[in-house]
């Protein structure tokens, strides 16, 4: 007998159906609204800080100056003549001016004396020159040279010289069509054009004296560096590591423009001008034809290692010091081996170009750390005796102090956030590479600090013997990278890496440090919202000048870092400030404003930042720059009232 349970009329299907319906509805709505959320999980763009003046860093000590204040001397220091004959001011590249009319007290009254528009709206990275009563300014492509008559009010242009470089050169200029300035020597102005020509112009008449074609844009070569004239020789290096060039440094006779010697940076010793005098300090830099054996077969021919940075000269030792750029392509797996002589500091004899010593700063470079930064020559007390050194705030994040005669690394200390290496072994001279941060083909490696432009890129630092401090304008950026296999097609980019940069720890993208080379630590530090891409200038009046990428030209107290004065210019500042004594005997400070360069490409080249790998990854870190500045190309000169 089955018991008569009430026939259950619950409909199991009814409950199940309702649950299914609600689930489906939720799923549908969920998928619809996700839509195209852009993958910016890792693009930590820092919240755009209001353009408030730089905040002075935490380690502001009361200390007025460095340990070696007054005890550090600049080799071959000439008495101050109130002129500015070469971008780095002197052969020791100190960018220190003896003028002291502008002091920490009256700097706040600085006001605009006159300004001059160059008519070119790209990155203005050059340094104006002052020779006698004339100021010379070089513009980015098309590289016009203006001569401004300082004796007349408002400094009207006396003449201008137009080298008319090839327009196609713009297609192989990796990081904006910039030019870093000219140099004056024996009555002539020497500078380079984007399409690899060195030109000499008569300083008075503006007539062309000679012109020399040094490279070929079809191989991806361009020239953006400011030349240096040493003992009648004009030293010029090429750039284009991202286009598979083969780097060289060429010396031209200042009078005739004939090539005196050319030293390549890859290939057999004969072409690298390595001979019997070559005594590198470290074992791994010693050996025969390392420029060939440290590359896969034939890859040294597209090995990069240009020389587009700064050159210093020590008259006493009669040696020039400069660094070579990154190896090509960026993808390290395509070039196993040390890839000599990329990212290397060379000491050469200026007359014959023969290498005396070399130190490869970054063997088998993984992150595009060019070794081209300026080497500032100093004689400073070290462990009880005075050593003839060069101090170089390097792109890999370390301030190197090296013996100028032998290349021995005395000290290497980080001046920014560094996790790609964990220290430099002073015995072997090699950095301890962090394997986790090695780029991999086909996989994104994250949070590599410093990013490709390094802790400090080309923007030159300045040194004041009075305060014994090194003033370093630099950036604070990290990056995610993914290696890809690069294909070498001559005349086209040969990079092999997808890069996405963003602000480093702390969220600020720029820093201006005062570094004590003897105590080997920062004395004071100013953080900025944007990378500090302009050069630094320090004067005997203990005032230090630099500009920010959103257009603030600032003067700080060289000893304490306190902001004395600032002025908002028409466009972002990536130029090199200079100071001179005008015909009226007053001290003036001049700076070119015009955003651009690699960091400012987002504005200068009209980049669309929706592609976060644009401009080799820099666009992602500078998304808010277009709101802060537009393009410009104007020279500003300030003086006391």
């Amino acid at each position: 007998m089955i018991d008569r349970r009430a026939t259950r009329h619950i409909r199991p299907t009814y409950i199940a159906a309702r649950a299914a319906v609600t689930f489906l509805a939720l799923a549908a709505v969920g998928t619809a609204c996700t839509g195209g959320s852009e993958q910016t999980a890792h693009a930590k763009t820092s919240p755009p800080k209001t353009a408030q003046p730089g905040t002075v860093g935490s380690d502001t000590l009361v200390a007025k100056s460095g340990v070696g204040a007054g005890k550090i001397t600049i080799p071959g220091a000439a008495p101050e003549d109130g002129q500015w004959l070469r971008p780095a001011k002197d052969y020791a590249s100190t960018r220190f001016s003896g003028l002291d009319q502008i002091t920490t007290t009256n700097a706040s009254q600085l006001k605009l004396a006159w300004s001059f528009s160059t008519g070119v709206m790209r990155g203005q990275e050059s340094a104006p020159l002052v020779v006698g009563g004339t100021m010379y300014v070089v513009t980015p492509y098309p590289n016009i040279l203006y001569a401004l008559d300082l004796t007349k009010p408002g400094a009207p242009a006396k003449w201008k010289y137009e080298p008319q470089p090839l327009a196609a050169a713009q297609g192989v200029a990796c990081c904006d069509v910039v030019n870093r300035g000219a140099v004056f020597a024996d009555g002539k102005i020497f500078y380079n054009t984007l399409d690899n020509q060195a030109v000499a112009v008569d300083a008075n008449t503006g007539k062309e004296v000679w012109r020399a074609q040094l490279g070929d844009i079809n191989n991806g070569e361009t020239i953006t560096m400011a030349p240096l004239v040493v003992k009648g020789k004009v030293l010029v290096g090429n750039s284009g590591g991202e286009l598979g060039i083969r780097g060289w440094l060429t010396a031209l006779d200042a009078g005739t423009g004939k090539i005196a010697w050319r030293a390549y940076h890859t290939g057999p010793d004969s072409l690298v001008l390595i001979g019997p005098r070559f005594k590198p300090f470290y074992k791994t830099d010693q050996g025969k034809d390392l420029g060939v054996s440290s590359w896969p077969p034939d890859k040294w021919k597209q090995g990069g290692a240009g020389a587009w940075g700064w050159i210093s000269y020590d008259a006493a030792l009669d040696l020039i010091y400069y660094g070579t750029a990154n190896p090509g392509p960026w993808n390290p797996e395509q070039r196993p081996g040390d890839n000599k002589w990329s990212s290397t500091t060379f000491a050469r004899d200026p007359d014959t170009g023969e290498a005396v010593w070399a130190y490869q700063v970054t063997p088998h470079d993984l992150h595009d750390y060019d070794g081209i930064n300026e080497s500032i020559l100093l004689d400073l007390p070290w462990n009880g005796q005075t050593r003839r050194v060069l101090v170089r705030p390097e792109r890999d994040g370390y301030v190197y102090v090296q013996d100028r005669a032998t290349g021995e690394v005395l000290a290497a200390d980080t001046f920014g956030v560094v996790n790609s290496t964990s220290g430099v072994n002073l015995q072997t001279g090699r950095p301890a590479v962090n394997q986790e941060k090695e780029p991999q083909v086909g996989r994104v490696v994250r949070q590599i600090c410093p990013a490709a432009p390094g802790t400090k890129d080309w923007q030159p630092s300045a040194f004041s013997p009075r305060t014994g401090l090194l003033y370093i304008p630099h950036q604070n950026l990290c990056m995610d990278v993914e290696s890809v296999d690069a294909n070498y097609i001559a005349g086209t980019p040969y990079v092999g890496m997808n890069v996405k940069m963003y602000a480093g720890p702390g969220g600020h993208r720029g820093v201006f440090d005062a570094w004590d080379p003897i105590a080997r630590k920062k004395v004071w530090s100013v953080t900025e919202n944007f990378p500090v891409w302009s050069g630094a200038l320090v004067t005997a009046g203990d005032v230090v000048f630099y500009g920010t990428m959103d257009g603030w030209f600032k003067a700080l107290d060289a000893r304490s870092g306190k902001l004395l004065w600032q002025s908002k210019l028409g466009s972002g500042i990536i130029g090199q400030p200079v100071t001179y004594r005008g015909p009226d005997g007053k001290q003036y400070v001049a700076i070119l404003a015009g955003v651009g360069g690699w960091s400012g490409a987002i504005v200068a080249a009209g980049i669309d930042a929706r592609d976060s790998s644009a401009a080799l990854g820099f666009a992602n870190a500078m998304r808010d720059l277009p709101n802060a500045t537009t393009k410009g190309g104007t020279l500003y000169v300030f003086g006391l009232p």
Binding site: R8, V21, V444, E482
Partner: protein
Amino acid sequence: MSARPLPAEHTGESDPKSIESVHGRLEHVWRNGPGLWGWLTSVNHKSIALRSIITAFAFFALAGVEAALMRAQLARPESSLIGPDRYNQLFTVHGSTMMFLFAVPMVQSVALYFVPIMIGTRNVAFPRLNAFGYWVYLIGGVLLYAALFTNTGPDQGWFSYVPLAGPEFSPGKRVDIWAQMITFTEIAAIVAAIEVIVTVFKQRAPGMSLNRVPLFVWAMVVMSFMVLVAMPYVATASMMLAMDRLIATQFFNYAEGGDALLWQHLFWFFAHPEVYIIFIPGLGMVSSIVATFSRRPVFGYTAIVLSTVSIGFLSFGLWVHHMFATPLPQTGQSFFTAASAMIAIPTGVTIFCWIATIWSGRPRFDTPMLYVVGFIALFTIGGLSGLFLSAVPVDLQLTDTFFLPGHIHYVLLGGMVFPLFGALHYWFPKVTGRMMSERLGKVSFWLLFVGVNVTFFPQLLLGAAGMPRRVYTYLADTGWGGLNLTSSIGAGLLAVGLLVLVVNIARSLAAGPPAGADPWGGETLEWAVSSPAPDYNFAYIPIVHGRSALWADTGDLDAVSGLREDRREVLQTTMLDAEPDSRHEHPDPTIVPLLAALATGVTLIWGIFDPIGFAVGGALTFLALGAWGWPQKTKPNTHEIVEVPK
């Protein structure tokens, strides 16, 4: 002992039309609506299952044509009959159709047709869900073949390895269509599995305790549980692949932390149980046929049930033997060799039990029994060739060569298609009321048996000869021409065999001798009803006293009376001992399942082209399911006493 027919009034023999007789009233209540509308709204398990069987056979034929085209292309080296793109579409759609549109739907349809009758109930548990399952399956199949006929067929292989199937290397919508077809067929499979499980556990005839459930039904239950566990994996994986392709998720993008092996693990964790999902129903069919034609219950009932269940569990532990050539740790791989070997033991036991049944039975070798012997012969070759593939070192030589298609087809044709054709000849009389011709049956069997061997044994040899699989052609100096030609000729034989089978079916439908209720003298309940079974299956639910329901020597079958005759009612019984538990009213024919299926179809197909499709389609599906669940006004409830004679 011959089956004891139900008393006349139980079998609906007396005048069925008249309203007075029980059958007339039940027929009036349970029949489908008239015409096309009746066809679309039917919720009767037999009409839906038959429709699904015919659709699955249609897809089987289409996939067969694709196979024939592929063999024609591979018959000669460097032949330009079919280009690489079209050939890739052919082998992908052939694989996908056989696995997703033929094998699983076919075994589930056979289950949905015979399980209710075998366990003595009137309809499957969720009739409307059953209809919904069929429509979703049909839409999935039509979608795939619409793509193939417009040269948009998927071309990345039925296993669709990423990154080839990923957004970068499979441009366009081909792989999206494949991924949505997977989603459709998975919904249909899961739905069918739920129905079989609930039907077997809740609606067995009184007295049919778990140890009296026919082996066929046991196989179908184990298969359904495996479907419930395995199918969600591929549904998830195909949804992940579709999302990677349409809205740039990073599941399989190794650069941003995804992994190509994730797809392989997810897919094979589904796909290996899938081939056992296809094979276990074959066991069920063989058990039914062997019992009836050996004139004795299958030897070792408990052994076979335990073996089937253990095969079900073990099949989830083997999937990595598809991935031995990938960078997985060595020790892990040898674990899977052991697991793959272990599953051979229960399979062996099952086969030994059947041989023992034949050994001690009085077998009559009609066509169904011939197919069983063919099954034993072919499936064992498949199983043994599987041993080569589960041994890691040998697998490194033989995987991804033509040894694989050889092994697959021996296992699947041997393990599933031969039992299926045996079951076709066995149950054709029950479904259509007409006998199939024995002569044509034997001719088609021998053609198929020889055809399988001539087609696929050369492929085993080709594998050893080093010919990679999924190649649209091969060079003349490879020396593989001869074996390939033999294999193609074998494919011709298979085609002829299938043709003879189709002719046999057509002739039997038209003019086959009437079969009567129980032409073979079977032991299970489906032989207790007329052929074809009435819409309500049983006027009075039978009571089962032994494992062989009809061979028990008590007189007439006892039966339960008292279910309503003016409404669709089904008797529900307890799970273990099938004690009558309650009466449950079944829904009347309704169009809502079709609407819900169409809404699901709109959602998934439009979703391929624009994610907004998911939102709008989701809303439509919400409405359709809302209508589905809308409470009917309850009919007046007349209580009646239900007596069951002791």
